[in-house]
Amino acid sequence: MTKLFLAAGVAALAIAVPAAAGPGGQGGSRGGGGKADRAQVDRGGARATARFDRQSARPDRQILRSDRQTSRADRQTSRADRQTLRAERPIRAERVARAQNRQIDRQAIRADRQTMRADRQAIRAGRIDNRSARIDNRASRNLQNGTVFAGDSGWGQAKGRGFIEGCPPGLYMKNNGCLPPGQAKKLIGSVLPAAIVSSSMPIALSSLYPDTANSYYRYNDGYMYRVDRGSNLVNALLPLLGGGYLPGQYLPSNYMSSYVPSAYSSFYPNNQSQCTRYANGVIYYVDCRSGLIENFMPLYDNGYGVGQMLPSSYGYYNLPQQYRDLYYNSADTGYWYAPGAIYQYDQRTSLITSVAALLSPGMSIGQRLPTGYNAYNVPLGYRDTYYDTPDNWYRYSNGNIYQVNPATQLVTALVASALT
């Protein structure tokens, strides 16, 4: 309001000054009096003008002063604001302190968790140790007594249900005197346990492992033992299970780049979810991420054969259609097909007792004639019917006779089954 009045005053003066000064100045200069008069008049006029100017400048200074006061007040206000903000700073510091505290708390919790984890691991390690000790004890009892679980006092019966004749079902099914897996290897150089001494070779395999004057053979837990008659010590152990790596183990990393041979790749495809790898005559099914072996398929041509044990997952009949009338399962004998062969195995022990038939990778209609089939190979009994002409060839593979186009070398038809 003060500013408004001052401004109004300044404006009124500004309007009045020109109106008063203008005619005086002009009249003086144009009136035409004497020099002195004119000088007096001029001097008097000048003083009056100067006084008037000073008077009129006074409100301006007051305005400026007022402005300065206003800006000072503003500065004071902003200073007060800054002080207020400064006063608020301790709150932020508190927050920082609180965050630091939280971090410390979290670190403490993490440390606690690590301690707990270490404790758990220690407990687990203790359990594993105890388990190993139990297994060792059981094995040693096996060695001493021949069998542990047989008999009324076995802990198996004492512990409760699910045991067969005092033996855990899994071990009972192995029919090996309840010897835990993995303990067999420890028997090399030691006296053959009584339980294994009486565990003779399966009849179908006894001709392959005949006892001699110097040694005799016994079978147990997937292994064939050769025992020296003189010392009565186990001097050789033949693993009857194909390959060296088992499900649950990690396939060595150098084998992860060893892919399935092309002849078998259609049987064992390799894809993102299931990696198939080949090593030492065995195809491994491996978890692509972890490298853990999930299953394996030994091949006949290298490491798989008579005297070896079929993996437990081979418990179903899988023969190609054209061979089913020739080889069918009975109570004693079973047949299993894997690329390369049809195996005959003992139903009781799962040991392969014979190779019933050899199979080639085979032919399929529309496929190019495989390498090595340029020579005519149709069985004698069919040669009068299926003989090579300029338009058609005939080739035998896995019980079937196929027709081949000589020009394109493509298999065009399956014309007969040679299995009768």
Binding site: S207, L208, Y209, M224, A236, L238, P261, A263, G281, Y300, D301, N302, G303, Y304, G305, V306, G307, Q321, R324, D325, L326, G340, A341, Q344, I352, T353, S354, V355, A356, A357, L358, L359, S360, P361, P370, T371, G372, Y373, N374, A375, Y376, N377, V378, P379, L380, G381, Y382, R383, D384, T385, Y386, R395, Y396, S397, N398, A416, S417, A418, L419, T420
Partner: protein
């Protein structure tokens, strides 16, 4: 009378159909095997035809292939004579017969067994068509290369071992045997 004739004709037709069905195998395909050819094959299997005390048969038994060679087949078997086994480095044959070396023996044995019946004449024709050589697939997944040395057929393994067929076309019910002078390994 007419009715009786018709009935007899129908019966004859049924019998004929029955005979046709007998000529089909379990897979429902025609059995085109001729009687003359069956007679030509004799009445013995390859397993029965091999020398009972011969080293080849002993090796086949050790590899579990005796039942294979006694089975339906047919296979073409390249059989080395005992003199061929004797010419191997000392101890080789005996080592093969050990159970722990069975995988190696299996590899050797399955690579001298070919699918189907391949007579010497068939190999000879394939060599001629193949401009001097023929590649023969084996049951072990490998190949043998056949060439001619004069009138004789020479087989070469993937490792470069050579064997000459000394007696060809021993025919059996489930295949044919060619005798060679050395062991292909």
């Amino acid at each position: 009378m007419k009715n009786m004739t018709a009935t007899l004709a129908l019966g004859a037709a049924l019998l004929a159909l029955g005979a046709c069905n007998n000529n089909r195998n379990a897979n429902g395909m025609d059995n085109a095997q001729t009687t003359e050819a069956q007679k030509a094959a004799g009445d013995k299997t390859v397993a029965a035809g091999l020398a009972a005390n011969g080293k080849f048969l002993a090796a086949a038994k050790a590899a579990g292939l005796d039942q294979t060679l006694a089975g339906p087949g047919p296979y073409t078997v390249i059989v080395a004579d005992d003199s061929g086994f004797d010419a191997l480095p000392p101890g080789t044959y005996d080592n093969w017969l050990k159970p722990e070396n069975r995988a190696q023996l299996t590899g050797v044995m399955t690579n001298v067994i070919l699918p189907g019946t391949v007579l010497a004449d068939d190999i000879s024709k394939a060599i001629d068509n193949g401009k001097g050589k023929a590649v023969l697939a084996t049951m072990g997944g490998g190949t043998l290369t056949a060439t001619k040395d004069g009138d004789k057929i020479v087989l070469t393994s993937a490792d470069g071992k050579k064997a000459t067929i000394t007696k060809a076309d021993d025919k059996f019910t489930n295949g044919v045997v060619h005798h060679v002078d050395s062991v292909l390994m």
